[in-house]
Symmetry: C2
Subunit: 355 residues, 2 copies
C-alpha cells in the first residue's frame, strides 16, 4: 500500500519538525509493506504575506484529491491585527470536515508534576466559537462585538462516538498486556451547561445519549464542568482516560494537560475525518526558537504515529510510539525544552535507530 | 462606621461557611471603630425549589437599598436540566453591575505544586458568554443551539482599569515591606484573538489602550493566548502578578490557579462594582461533604477580607489576611481538603484567636 502524504510545514519551527516527520515515515521497515509519496504544500502567515491567502485553494484541492493524509507544522499568529488574515489550520479542519481533534497526553518514565498521566483529549473540531461568525457595531458607550458559539446535535453525537471508539481501542490495547494506569475505560464529558444550558446543555445531553449506546456498555461515563475539569486535571491527572469536549474547552484543556508532562513539545494531535487524518504537533510556531535547530521533534513524530493509526496502520503507529518512548525513557538525547542539550537532528537520529 | 452586610448562604456548604464569615466580622477588634449589621437573604437551588425563583426580587432589592456589601456562599447546580432554573450568582453580578470578579491566589508557606504563587485574576463579570442569550432550532441533521459571546469596549476598558489599579495597589503594599515574589507590577492580558479577532480582538486592543494610560506607566503589560496562558500558569506560576481576562477565561483560569495552591477551599473572590462588593468563596456547594461540618472556611474568611478592601477598609482586611496566613503557615489546624483533620469550627477558632 502506498500512502500519499501532504506536507504542510507552515511557519516557524513547523519547517524544522515536519521534515522529521517525513524522515520517520521513510525509515519504517520494509516488512510493513508500506510506501509513501510526499507532496509539499503551502499555508501559513508567510504564505499570506506573499499571496494574500493563508490557505491557498491548491493546498485544499491537493489534499482532497491526491492525498490520504497529511502533516501540518504550525502557523504564526500575527502580533497585531492584520486585515484579512485568518488561521489556515482552523479553515482546513472545516474544509476537510476533520471533525475530531485527538490529543493524547502521556507521561513517560516518572512524568513531571503531578504523577502519571495517560489520557486523550477528544476535541470537537468544526464548530463552537470556531465558526468565527463575528460582527462589530457601535453601542451607546463604544464598540460592541459579538461572536456566535454554535453547538449541533450532529457534531456532538459524532465526537462522542469518536470518544467512545477511542476508549474501546485503548482498552483493547491494554488487554494485549500494555502497561497502563487505567483498569477500566472512562469517558469524561466536559461542558459548562450550568451557564450555557442550551448550547453546552445540548453537547452534554447528546454526548450522554451517544455514550449510552449498547456498544459502549463497558465504558464508564462521567461529566465535569470545564472549570472544575481544569482544577481536577491538575490535582489528579491519573484519574482521566478519555476527555471529550467542545472545541474551545478542548483547546484549553489540551494545553493544560501538556503542562503536566513537561513540555508542549511532546504532545501530538490528529485532525480526523472520515478516511482522512492530518497529524499536527500541539506546539505552535515558537518564534523565540525558530531557525536554531533545537525544536523538539517528538510531538511531530508522535503525530505521525497518530495519523497512521487513523489511516488504519496501527502496527506502524505502534512502532513509532515505541521508538519515541524508548528515547524518552532513556532520557539521554533530549532537546532543550526537556532540559537536554540535543538538537532536533540528534533527537530524530536517536528515535530512528530505535525503530 | 457601621457596614450593613447581606448574608446569602445559598446551598450546600455555603451554609456552613457564611456563618464563619459573619463571625470574623464580629470578632474584629473594636479599635477599628467598625460595626456591622447583618441581614439574612435567600437565593439558590433550594430557594428555587420552594419558590420557583432562584434569586428572589427581595434579595436584590435589599442588597441595593439596605446593604453596603454582602457575602455569598455557593449554589448547587442541578445535575439534570431543570426548566426555568438559572444561576442566581450570575444574575446577581449583572443586576448589581458588579463588573469585576477579583480572585487572588497565593501560596502560603511552600505552596503546593509548582512553587510560589502570588497572583490575582481580574475577571470581567457581566458579559462574554455569560449574557446567556441562547436559542435552539432544528437543523437538517438534528438540533442546533447558539449562544452569543458579547464583548464591549466599555466593559473591557473598565476591567482593564481595575486590573491596573489592583497592580498599583499590590505594588504599594509591597513597598511597605511586605514580602513578595514580584519586583515590578505586571498585567497579563488574556484572550483568544487568533481565532476571535473581533470579540477577543476588541478585548485585547481595549485592554492595551486602557493600560497605556499614563497612570499605569510603571506597570509592565504582556499578553497571552488563553490556551498558552493555562500552560504557562502551570509551568511558571510565579511569573504572573495580575491577569485580566474576559468572563469565561477568567472562570477557567481561576480554578486552574486554585489547583496550584492545593485547594479550591483556599481561594476567595470579590464581585466588585462601584461602591459595592460581594465576597464569595470560589469553591462551589460541594454536595459530597455538605452537612458534615468539615468545609474549609478559609476561602470565605479571605473573601471577607477582600470585600472589606473594596469597601475601603484596608486595615481590617489586612488583619484578616494576616490571621489566615498565620493559620496556614503554622499548618496545625487544617481542614481535610488540606490534608488535616480539623472541623470548620476549629479552623475558624484558630483564625479568630490570631486576630
Ligand atoms: C493556532 C490556533 C488557531 C489553534 C486552535 O485554537 O485550535 C491552536 O491553539 C491549536 O490548538 O491547534
Ligand atoms: C457557578 C457558576 C455559574 C460560576 C461561574 O461560572 O461564574 C462559578 O464557576 C464561579 O466561578 O463563580
Amino acid at each position: 500500500r502506498t500512502l500519499r502524504i501532504g506536507l504542510i510545514p507552515g511557519d516557524g519551527i513547523g519547517r524544522e519538525v515536519i521534515p522529521a516527520g517525513r524522515r520517520i515515515l521513510e525509515a519504517l521497515p520494509s516488512s510493513l509493506n508500506l510506501k509513501f509519496s510526499f507532496t509539499d504544500l503551502d499555508a501559513g502567515f508567510e504564505t499570506f504575506q506573499k499571496t494574500g491567502n493563508a490557505l491557498p485553494e491548491k493546498t485544499v484541492e491537493t489534499l482532497k484529491q491526491e492525498c490520504d493524509g497529511a502533516l501540518f507544522g504550525a502557523v504564526s499568529s500575527p502580533t497585531t491585527k492584520v486585515q484579512g488574515y485568518s488561521s489556515p489550520i482552523v479553515a482546513l479542519r472545516k474544509k476537510l470536515d476533520l471533525y475530531a481533534n485527538v490529543r493524547p497526553v502521556k507521561s513517560v518514565g516518572n512524568g513531571d508534576k503531578g504523577g502519571k498521566v495517560d489520557l486523550v483529549i477528544v476535541r470537537e473540531n468544526t464548530e463552537d466559537l470556531y465558526v468565527k461568525e463575528e460582527k462589530t457595531y457601535d453601542g451607546p458607550n463604544g464598540k460592541i462585538a459579538e461572536a456566535i458559539k454554535r453547538i449541533s446535535e450532529r457534531a456532538s453525537f459524532r465526537i462522542a462516538n469518536m470518544a467512545g471508539e477511542i476508549a474501546l481501542r485503548r482498552q483493547r490495547v491494554r488487554k494485549t498486556g500494555a502497561e497502563s494506569i487505567h483498569q477500566k475505560p472512562l469517558v469524561t464529558v466536559t461542558h459548562k451547561s450550568n451557564v450555557l444550558s442550551q448550547t453546552d446543555g445540548l453537547f452534554r445531553e447528546t454526548a450522554r445519549n451517544a455514550l449510552a449506546q449498547s456498544q459502549y456498555n463497558s465504558i464508564g461515563v462521567e461529566e465535569q464542568i470545564v472549570d472544575s475539569m481544569v482544577y481536577n486535571l491538575f490535582r489528579q491527572p491519573s484519574a482521566y482516560d478519555v476527555i471529550v469536549a467542545p472545541n474551545l474547552y478542548g483547546d484549553i484543556l489540551s494545553d493544560g494537560a501538556a503542562a503536566l508532562v513537561g513540555s508542549l513539545g511532546l504532545v501530538p494531535s490528529a485532525n480526523v475525518g472520515d478516511g482522512f487524518a492530518i497529524g499536527e504537533p500541539c506546539h505552535g510556531s515558537a518564534p523565540d526558537i525558530q531557525g536554531q535547530g533545537i525544536a523538539n521533534p517528538i510531538a511531530t513524530l508522535r503525530s505521525v504515529g497518530l495519523m497512521l493509526e487513523f489511516l488504519a496502520e496501527e502496527k506502524a503507529a505502534a512502532m513509532i510510539y515505541k521508538a519515541v518512548d524508548g528515547n524518552l525513557e532513556e532520557g539521554k538525547v533530549l532537546s532543550p525544552d526537556m532540559g537536554g542539550r540535543a538538537r532536533t537532528e540528534q533527537v530524530v537520529e536517536d528515535v530512528l535507530k530505535r525503530l
